[in-house]
């Protein structure tokens, strides 16, 4: 692992430019260790990260800051069968996952 990733936060700043995350319900596909979700979650109503790899999922659950736990959750799932109703999200982010 790199000792530091995107310390200037260019990725999350660019992401926040292209969609209105304010109070949005966000699905992040391929949320990995939660690194990206943690950076924009504050702006959103809530974030659901799905990740097929159990190890990554465990890292995300462990790393989730306490102040974000109210509106960030992670599930083990893939985008091939999303366990959500139609029209559940305002934004879907494919995070290095397509």
């Amino acid at each position: 692992m790199a000792s530091e990733l995107d310390p200037e936060g260019v990725e999350s700043r660019t992401l926040l430019q292209v969609a209105d995350f304010n109070n949005a319900r966000v699905l992040e596909v391929g949320s990995g260790d939660g690194r990206l979700a943690f950076r924009y979650a504050n702006a959103s109503a809530y974030v659901v990260g799905i990740e097929p790899q159990a190890k990554e999922l465990a890292s995300a659950l462990e790393a989730c800051p306490s102040h974000l736990r109210q509106h960030v959750s992670f599930l083990q799932a893939t985008a091939l069968a999303l366990p959500f109703r139609n029209g559940s999200f305002d934004i879907a982010v494919l995070a290095w996952s397509l």
């Binding site: 310390p7 990725e11 029209g87 559940s88 397509l98």
Partner: protein, 145 residues
């Protein structure tokens, strides 16, 4: 992949946004960053998943052609990785599926790293800049008869 995009379309609200964020398959500059400046020392070949990237692009194009999503934004930016040593960079690249090898060799990178550090620029860090794309699409309603 196409099925996954259909699923995402289903769970989005009307006019919802899809954001496709991923690194590009390309040569990425490797630099030494010191308090006094940045020294370009080589490149990392990040084309290890070029075929997958092509498949992803085709899948997105297909779903746009079906009228399910409308392209809205197309941007690129540099995503920076930092390491404290050439050894850390080496470990990262050897474990990576996207990055395959570096130019010059790790041994040569290590030599330059030592030279830069010996030149009084302690605290040199190794940086690799990944060109990353961000494309945004808006969900369009599909009418079936």
């Amino acid at each position: 992949m196409v099925h996954a995009l259909h699923e995402i379309w289903r769970v989005l609200v009307g006019n919802g946004s899809l954001v496709d964020l991923r690194p590009l398959s390309c040569q990425c500059p490797i630099e030494l960053v010191t308090p006094s400046g940045v020294v370009h020392v080589g490149e990392a070949d990040a084309t290890g998943m070029a075929a997958d990237d092509d498949a992803s692009d085709r899948a997105i194009r297909g779903i746009v052609e079906q009228g399910r999503f409308v392209p809205r934004e197309d941007m690129q930016f540099d995503f920076d990785f930092y390491w404290d040593s050439v050894q850390e960079l080496t470990s990262f690249i050897e474990a990576s599926t996207r990055m395959k090898h570096v130019r010059p060799s790790y041994a040569d990178l290590e030599k330059v790293y030592r030279e830069v550090s010996a030149g009084g620029r302690e605290g040199a860090r190794v940086r690799c800049r990944r060109r990353t794309m961000l494309k945004a699409y808006q969900k369009a309603m599909v009418w079936t008869h």
